[in-house]
Symmetry: C2
Subunit: 582 residues, 2 copies
């Protein structure tokens, strides 16, 4: 090795040792006849000291080093007079006896430090320099540790990691595929997998019993704020299990991650019905770090000649505890918030439970103090609390609006602390959802998700009411994973396809090989997949998955560092027998 140790390893225990370090010149300070240089590598920072009186040439050489020069130094470990408690090596410094420049460096376009002066675009173009910054590189180290931990846990439970193919077959169902023209089979295309769903089910048919894979998946979708065209899943499947077994197994995984990675004893993960999540939080991924539960007020508020409430399908309130002091300006802000087009409420009604015990609402004209007492009772307000109420003609829309308002209030009240974690299982999702555009039911999860046996009879009468053996894990209001118990018998599968509007022929064309496989002895099976990028970003306390991906793409799907995608040679197009019409 070019070095004897790293820049993060030395302490008072090493006093007097002669060491060689390699790393990057972080910064340099001249103090009288001395020069102090911080040398940095992945493992830490060590202070180097040069003295004009001891060796003027060497000290001069040190003074001429530029930022980010790669250097190799040899010298003795000595105790620092001016100790730095902020860093692990802060008790010592290296009295340098020799210095070698391994590589010079141009001045980087932004500061390589925990807090940088580089803008987003510049840091994306020079991603390899941004990755040099501790907070960014630490995200990748965290990700590595999480992946190792996941593998250790699943391996310990007899799960086998099997690599499924990346060059697979395009199916019209689901999101848009990336495709790959085949040179050896002109006119034909591979597709990149959106998930290894069918392959993992085939592995169950093959008797693999317990499968997992940390695997890249691909979706050619218009990229919203925090989507990437390639993303990573922890993909899992088990045979001979019921929902309860899956929940226990993967709750164990998440709790193990919290313990090993963050040293947190995550409590047992609570479980909630999908219907309750919608009723109490207006969301299938509630942020349970704070309460502020929805309270339906229909029975209390209707019939008082207030048309907004009388005409509503749902009147729903939340108790923003301790917010009675909100000023008119603050309440106007909240009103503006819910009226934003992407939220779409028509207005916001509030009631203050004043410190003196009086109740005061924005609709006093319709509701006297006695009526407001009912609101107060329903929402369990105390002096100092503020009730916020939304109403509307379509229940689902009001729930969605109130969900946004609840999250906004949670943020304003500091209840969404990134260092606090609340996980939740949401269970019994609907099997089907109505699609306005195609005017038919779609599978909410996918067509192989099994209905609850007790609900199968509803398929003919109230298909939207049929519940599935499907479950999501939610962490801090973000869906981090989901899955289902699959259908494994032909009859139920045929019934499912019928209700999804597939002809036998269509079903065969799209899912033929899997349907064939199911005829040769498919075991009962189920599984789930976690979004690994999202999980990492939550563990890292980050808002975007981009920061836990070493080389992410921007919102146009471009890698601006390598300038990809790009045009290709005509020769390549000819070999592939395709032309571009762009």
């Amino acid at each position: 090795m070019l070095r004897t140790t790293t820049c993060g390893a030395l302490s008072l225990e090493n006093l007097g040792e002669n060491v060689t370090l390699c790393g990057w010149m972080q910064n340099s300070r001249d103090l009288g006849g001395m020069t102090f240089i911080d040398i940095r590598d992945r493992y830490g920072i060590t202070q180097l000291v040069f003295n004009m009186n001891d060796n003027a040439d060497l000290c001069q050489q040190a003074r001429e080093l530029g930022r980010e020069y790669v250097i190799k130094v040899t010298g003795a470990v000595v105790e620092r007079t001016n100790k730095n408690k902020e860093i692990a090596t802060g008790d010592i410094e290296i009295k340098v006896a020799s210095l070698e420049i391994l590589n010079a460096a141009k001045l980087p376009p932004f500061l390589i430090a925990d807090e940088t002066d580089g803008g987003d675009d510049l840091r994306m173009k020079y991603r390899y320099l941004d990755l040099r910054r501790n907070p960014v590189r630490n995200n990748m180290v965290l990700r590595h540790r999480m992946a190792q931990s996941v593998r250790r846990y699943l391996d310990g439970l007899d799960f086998i990691e099997v690599e499924t193919p990346v060059l697979i077959k395009s199916t019209p169902e689901g999101a848009r595929d990336f495709v790959v023209p085949s040179r050896m089979n002109p006119g034909e295309f591979y597709a990149l997998p959106q998930s290894p769903q069918t392959f993992k089910q085939l592995l169950m048919v093959s008797g693999f019993d317990r499968y997992f894979q940390i695997v890249k998946c691909f979706r050619d979708e218009d990229l919203r704020a925090d989507r990437q065209p390639e993303f990573t899943q922890i993909d899992c499947e088990m045979s001979f299990v019921e929902q309860e077994d899956i929940l226990n197994t993967f709750e164990g995984l998440i709790r193990t991650l919290f313990k090993e990675i963050k040293g947190i004893d995550l409590p047992e993960v609570p479980r909630m019905q999908y219907s309750d999540a919608m009723r109490l939080y207006g969301s299938d991924k509630p942020d349970t770090r704070f309460e502020m539960l929805f309270v339906e007020l229909n029975d209390i508020v209707k019939g008082k000649d207030f048309p907004v409430f009388d005409n509503a399908e749902l009147v729903v309130g939340i108790n923003a505890k301790g917010c009675a002091h909100y000023t008119r300006k603050q309440l106007d802000e909240l009103t503006d918030f819910v009226k934003r087009p992407q939220i779409g409420a028509t207005g916001l009604i509030y009631m203050r439970h004043n410190e003196d015990g009086s109740l005061k609402s924005s609709v006093d004209k319709f509701y006297n103090e006695e009526e407001l007492q009912k609101w107060s009772a329903a929402l369990q307000t105390q002096p100092g609390d503020l009730v916020l109420v939304l109403a509307g003609a379509v229940k689902e829309k009001v729930q969605k609006q109130m969900n946004e308002l609840r999250l906004e209030m949670g943020s304003r009240l500091g209840l969404r602390d990134k260092d606090k974690f609340a996980a939740l299982w949401v269970l019994d999702f609907p099997l089907l959802e109505w699609d306005e555009e195609s005017e038919r039911y779609h599978a909410m999860h996918h067509p192989f998700t099994s209905p609850k046996p007790e609900d199968i009879a509803l398929l003919d009468t109230k298909p939207g009411k049929v519940r599935a053996n499907a479950y999501d894990m939610v962490l801090n209001g973000t869906e981090i994973g989901g899955g289902s118990i699959r259908i494994h018998d032909k009859e139920t599968q045929a019934l499912m396809f019928k209700h999804l509007g597939f002809s036998d022929e269509e079903a065969k064309k799209q899912f033929g090989f899997l349907l064939d496989a199911f005829e040769y002895g498919a075991p009962p099976h189920g599984g789930l997949a976690f979004g690994f990028d999202r999980l990492c970003s939550l563990f890292a306390g980050l808002d975007t998955i981009r920061d836990v991906i070493a080389f992410p793409k921007n919102n146009s799907g471009r890698d601006v560092m390598i300038d990809s995608p790009s045009t290709i040679d005509d020769k390549q197009l000819k070999e592939l027998k395709i032309s571009t019409d762009a």
Copy 2:
């Protein structure tokens, strides 16, 4: 769980326990009033017993089960009278009290057993059934265990696994890329990576210090016997190292794998110069499980008026020990072997060292016994040995031919035992190789491989003689990995590009982002990549990588199970703004 234990877990220790097993019906035998059924899962096989006298209905139900039916049984663990020492559960059987059919199965198209009657094509089409067979599934389990072991070893040495992107940029250099049309950037394409080479070097520039990844790579090449369009590498890179550090680190990895996976203490891996490998084995990937080294005979045989030898650049012999008894027919076979077009020798000369001590050659006309004594001395023959000699006008061709003959003899003599392992480092590969077609030197490894400092002066005079800091690891005559110390300074890189015939502009166009990165403080670094599929196949004692890949493609790049590649919808083509000319 639907079961209380697996089909591989029960023994006499469990006598009397009431258990529930799930699995596949492997086979069934009726013996008098009894029925014996083997139930199989991934973990093993357990015998079930049913008795007409105890429960006629149940026994009748058992008799009606078809092969590969998925069943669930409950019953008591009892001792077998007729023990089966071949299987782990052979001491016990389950006296079944209840039986449930979880899924029926059509009769599989081939036998699901260690030895099957299914042909290759049928087994590829029903790969999910082939994977049900123990030897095939065990390969995947082996692969999983190897991957876990690799990750554990490298993690223990502070390597970080970083996921590099799959959607990258096409470069004309190297093998042919698979490309992916970009819908969001019409007319432009991503490419799938042939290796993460540039990204791992960027990670070194980023200060990651030690990187690895078990990663899918892609090459759109015509598929020879044992290539796959998608394959897996163990890709690694280290900073601040010299060649010796890389060799030690990754020799450690391979020895750890042998120890953990096969319980073998692999001895220290010998090292051999590329030039010696060519001289002694005629190959840069010698099979060192056996000796039979090349002996150059030029000095001994020339000048005896035998034109075949006199006109040859190389006359080379091997000693096939104990083969003097070879019949004329066997020798003719060997002659036919070396004369096959793909080998291309013009003939084979031999000398028998007979048991009586006499020497007898196929060229006695030119070489008397005294001359043959020189052959015998050079090749250290003993009574019973057979010398095989090849000669030709181009040294490299003769070496290649003799390599083939040596391997053939090794196989015939049983010296290439799949359970025996011989690893080897081949060092100091040439930096450049002449390419006849383009009439210029190409980088033998890649353009970022560093030349040996002491050879740099030869770049101008004898570029073909310049050695690189490049190394391969060879196992049993197969290259399993290779890498190099990279160039990390601008000057050497510019020199290298000049000698590869790149203009500054071309270099910038193809490798601009990496060259830019090298200007911002690149550390000395190097690495290597192992072919993971190949490594697994060698560990499994298999001839093809196909058998260690869960869902491989055939020689036309097709997955016949899912029938991919396939045509895609016109709608998809339109969205991508491409058309097919096929």
